[in-house]
Subunit: 263 residues, 2 copies
């Protein structure tokens, strides 16, 4: 069984290495790593079509070989599944050192890498860690990697429906103190961005988007709620974003449109 591991923080990120090592502990697993050379956080679902992307071999901190590319996480997955490496049975993305919950999912390189996989027909799991106040440099990814191993082993054995990926978020705590796994829905993020004006040289005006990290509503049943209670959250995501509940109201408004009537 081949497991493709990627991430959005870049090929040297410790979360990627921890994930690759955990995947290798799955009996019968062959682990392939194809990951971006640089950090692509908050860059969304990219497909680089307008230029070729350099691909080269690199060595991770534990001596394993990986492929790295100039492309985005979703480019790495696209190239891998178009034949850069033998076709994997599952794609696993992470471990991202910040939660990807609620509205984060369409922005997240970690999650959009998994989207690219399920669009190409390969099951996928995105794994992120809710690190809270712990500094990025001090993170221990081992508990999250163990959780990922269990979930990916289940996906390899049971499969996933077409066009569905699992978005996994793990609270930052020792494995023994985790409450368990909750199957959740996307919660409500509260972004706290502000716009800061910076006046640059030669009269040029710049604006910087940013502020405090996003908060969230820890509602029962959501990913944010599960993490707040010390549970791992597993949210199944589907690529069909159609809002079926709105069809009848819109059909009533537009269904009898006569050309030219808007004049």
């Amino acid at each position: 069984m081949r497991i493709l591991v990627t991430n959005d923080d870049g090929v040297t990120a410790p979360g990627l290495l921890a994930l690759a090592q955990a995947m290798e502990a799955i009996p019968g697993a062959e682990v392939l790593v194809v990951a971006p050379h640089r950090n692509w956080s908050v860059t969304g679902h990219v497909k680089t079509l307008n230029r070729p992307l350099r691909v080269w071999e690199t060595v991770l901190a534990d001596g394993r070989t990986a492929l790295t590319t100039e492309g985005a996480p979703s480019d790495c997955v696209a190239m891998a599944l178009l034949g850069l490496v033998p076709r994997p049975d599952v794609v696993v993305s992470g471990i991202n050192p910040n939660a990807n919950v609620g509205h984060d999912v369409t922005y997240s390189g970690t999650v959009t890498a998994a989207m690219e996989a399920v669009i190409a027909g390969v099951p996928a799991v995105a794994v992120s860690l809710e690190r809270g106040e712990t500094p990025m440099e001090a993170l221990d990814y081992r508990s999250a990697a163990r959780v990922a191993r269990r979930i990916v082993a289940w996906v390899l054995s049971e499969g996933l429906p077409e066009e569905v990926l699992l978005n996994v978020n793990v609270p930052y705590r020792p494995l023994e103190t985790m409450q368990g796994i909750r199957v959740t829905r996307l919660g409500r993020r509260l972004y706290r961005d502000r716009l800061t004006r910076c006046d640059g040289p030669a009269g040029k005006t710049y604006y910087w988007i940013g502020g405090e990290p996003p908060a969230g509503v820890p509602e029962e049943g959501t990913d944010i709620g599960a993490l707040a209670q010390g549970y791992v959250s597993v949210t199944p995501l589907q690529m069909d974003m159609t809002a079926y509940g709105e069809h009848s109201a819109l059909a009533a408004a537009f269904g009898r449109w006569v050309v030219g009537e808007e004049e």
Copy 2:
């Protein structure tokens, strides 16, 4: 009523100008344009947090003033809604000279600009044209702009539910020959990308993702099916990607997880 117009092809694109002019024809409308300086097609949902973005004033081909930025379409919307311009009542993105149907929506700068708006609580409409074989340079955007005007006028009068945007695709034909509007679901795209290896100077290896333009399954009830029959397609999209149908199977698999059991 303020209407913010943006796009993903860049501020000089003729589809943007046609859209801005059509919006201005809505009685009582004040049109604001904030659009990227360069083309951001197929770049996904971006939020640029790691650097400031230059913002400057420019003049469109009809003499109107617009703001343009170094950021992505979603950055333009984020900055606009964080106070760069007075708060709009609706955000309209387009007119994209290629359809955005099926799986295109998470990649599309046109659609992710609209996502950024609904996340910030402002109703949004994305407008794209299925141009078929017509060369980009020869496109006449007037019919699509008229359709957009009708739909945006309806949104301004009736509103949209929270977290729902309208993804509008217009067939490339004169207004008189359009069949009407169909309210649709996302169809199934068939991407036809291949991986082409290019050996660069100094032994560097590059791969180029690309191939024929994507095809699609023109199934009844879908955006692709509606366009194929000469209808305008209006697909309501929701930001909640949770696959609710998978909850019970996953809860059965993971709900009773005991820590350490995976050993």
